[in-house]
């Protein structure tokens, strides 16, 4: 069982909220075989272009993911992102005002005790397990690349003046490289998955995120409180957060995991 919460806010400085998010939790029917899908996008581009881009990215990715019945989950995710990219580009060519719009896009699929993800841009996915928080996505940003290249430290990246520059996005070029989870992440009861845009992770520290998750526990509250915290900290950008709480793993899955863990540790 997964409980999902979400919240979004324009923030304190922007004139428009250009973020979008969506989720689908099919309990029965053919879609249920493809699991629970959460997706979040942070749009870019003036004159409402960013808003258009993020809405298209989110809705196309979701529809495309469930439309595809035959491919594996990672392949479906990749196809969903590529379709979102194509559709945003197509839309951007219809109007002068929309022509340079783009968006980040991050999605996770939770199916049974496994999680798959796909990512383009600098929106993030975290797993929180008690007092530990780990980012499972990689930012496609100028500063993240600098850190990877060894030019600056992670601490320096936090305050770098160019931390807003991203190096990959939906809607800019026909060719798109999507980051995909090579292996599914095995989930445990009590873990939380958080998807968020840089309006949250740029304003609220990991420590503050853990504190709020532990204090408020329910995904809906957690999202609201995280948004409040980002606003308290200045809210320089739009803020969007989605939280999925893993609150019940099926007995079969538990047994399977125990077995897998046993065989892995026996090697």
């Amino acid at each position: 069982m997964v409980t999902i919460g979400a919240a979004t806010h324009i923030g304190q400085e922007k004139k428009e909220n250009q973020d979008s998010y969506a989720f689908n939790q099919p309990e029965r029917g053919p879609d249920s075989a493809k699991g629970t899908f959460l997706v979040l996008a942070d749009g870019m581009g003036g004159h409402s272009g960013g808003k258009h881009a993020s809405i298209i990215a989110v809705s196309v990715a979701m529809a495309e993911y469930y439309r595809n019945r035959s491919d594996s989950i990672p392949v479906s995710l990749e196809k969903a992102f590529i379709k979102a990219n194509t559709e945003v580009i197509k839309k951007s060519q219809t109007s002068e005002e929309l022509k340079d719009m783009g968006s980040t896009l991050v999605a996770v699929v939770i199916i049974s005790d496994k999680m798959y993800f796909a990512n383009v841009g600098d929106s993030r996915g975290y797993i929180i397990d008690d007092n530990n928080i780990s980012q499972f996505t990689e930012d496609h940003s100028f500063v993240a690349s600098l850190v990877k290249a060894g030019a600056i430290t992670e601490e320096e990246a936090l305050t770098h003046p160019e931390r807003n520059i991203i190096t990959r996005a939906i809607g800019l070029k026909p060719e798109l490289k999507v980051d995909l989870s090579e292996q599914p992440v095995i989930l445990k009861e009590g873990q939380y998955i958080i998807l968020c845009c840089d309006g949250l992770h740029g304003s609220v520290s990991n420590g503050e995120i853990i504190k709020i998750v532990k204090k408020y526990k329910k995904p809906g509250y957690i999202c609201e409180k995280l948004v409040d915290k980002a606003n308290e900290n200045g809210g320089p950008d739009n803020i969007t957060v989605m939280t999925a709480m893993i609150d019940n793993i099926s007995l079969m899955s538990k047994l399977k995991n125990m077995f897998l863990n046993f065989t892995r540790s026996s090697k």
Partner: protein, 605 residues
Amino acid sequence: MIDQKMGDYTISRSLGKGGFGSVWKAESSEGRQVALKVLHPQVLENQKVVRKFFHEAMILAKLDHPGICRLLEFFPDGDNYAIVMEYIDGTELKDILRTTGKLPFDQGFSIAKQTLDAFQYAHNNGILHRDIKPANIMITGNGDAKIMDFGIAKMSSTASHDTAASMLSIHYVPPERFDKNSEVDARSDLYSLALVFYEIFTGGKPFEATETSEIMFWHLNEIPDPPEKYCEDMPPHVSNAILKALEKNPDDRFNDFKEFSDALGHDDATPDDATVIMDTTGKAYEKAVTAAAQARQPQTETKPAGKKLFIPIVAAAVVVLVLSIGGYFVFNKSGDTAGDTATAQTAAKPPKLEEITHPVDKSKMILIPKGEFIMGSEAYSAEQPVQTIHLNKYYIDKYLVTNKQFQKFVEKTGYQTSAEKNGKGMVRIGRRWKEVEGASWKQPDGLSSIDGQDDHPVSQVSYKDAASYCKWAKKNLPTEAQWEKAARGPNGGMFPWGDSEPNDTMANFDNIVGSTTPVTKYEKGKSFFSIHDMAGNVYQWCRDWYDTGERKPKNPTGPKTGEERVIKGGSFVEGMESIRSSNRDRYEPSYSSFLFGFRCACEDL
């Protein structure tokens, strides 16, 4: 957009889009073909970026080199801003490299030398490109290289996540760019250009990485193969020069483009007085270089940049407004002859000055004692004759009237300036002056507010505004003679500080700063009588109607009637010649410009 009008231009077709906006081919009302770049609305949302570019545009407009695509003007049009560039009929080097791979050595060498020449010229004029890549170099049918987008590309790289234009191309970025604390200078552009040369001669980049972080790592750490390895016609000294320009540490590279060009050597295949260049069809063109050499004159001059800039600046500033109404300024190319007329400033001791605070506007004023001074110069007919003039004692403001002082005047009187009444004021955009809506003393260039600039001179004021302030403050504008004496002292120095050429510690001129500066800033540039900003910052209205010829020898006040009032002192955009103290210009009393301010004088308190 097709067939739509923007300013005086009719758009004919799309030429593509860049990080900063869309590009259109357009035709002026006189039939001139231009490339019109319309800035993205989201780029314009960043006022800081626009402001910075706006100031830089004025400098860019002065670049006049056959290897640089010219910026013709920069103007607002409704919500958009348009940059008008020379239209170049050619192919991007990027596309040539994509289709042909590497270029034949001689052809590549010619392009390399031309681009180095163009960049050195821009560098001499204080301009860096900051985004050198094959897509920014256009090759014409004659094989001539034209550098595109000076200063413009930078706008997109300063944009934020809010714009999709923020996707950085890091293939040509120097390693120091990855260190936010390190300054980017000409050696950074040199590195980027060397990477372009590498591609021209070898047909590929020196790295194979495709991931951003891997490319960054390469720039930071890895040593390129010598390009001669992939280009058999390349002499070793050319290969070594490219490697030197690609050094990781800027200190190990050449200091400027000329050094790089010298290290590449000369193209021995070309005769002395003609350049043979192959076009893309293989046909050879013989191109006399006499004309090009003349056009390239500026970069071969060894004089300081300030002097070189004089002609374009003055021409741009004055041609439209003055020549069209029958002005008769004769521009002196050397700028030296003015010195013939002025008696050399003797090493007079600084006078003991009487400084008072004016009771109404609290300005500091200096008492200029009665006596003679030398007025005028032989340099230009408008400044002739050189005369000894006697003036009675008078007080003159030590500093220009500031925004804060003017604000107080407006608060007390409810005064509305000429620009406020018109809803617009004159702003120089690129090479042209335009009436810009919303420009007023509170927003002199129509874009940037004076917030935080209390101690800057008030600007975008007409003669009428200046005179109204003076009347309120129970003072007057200085006569031209009073102004000139306060600037030159008794001995008629060329500049307030004497005859030596100005530099950036003495005056705000020549777009070194690109905007007004606090009125107390240039202590080193004060006059014999300790008056500040008598050269540069903003032009200053004088009381006199404009006239020429012999002046009254005692307390001249100009003619009784006239159509235009005198302004003196030059401004932050003018070059050295215009900030000479004898320089004069004139405008109608209601003319309001973002370069015009004033100071007050009075005979009695």
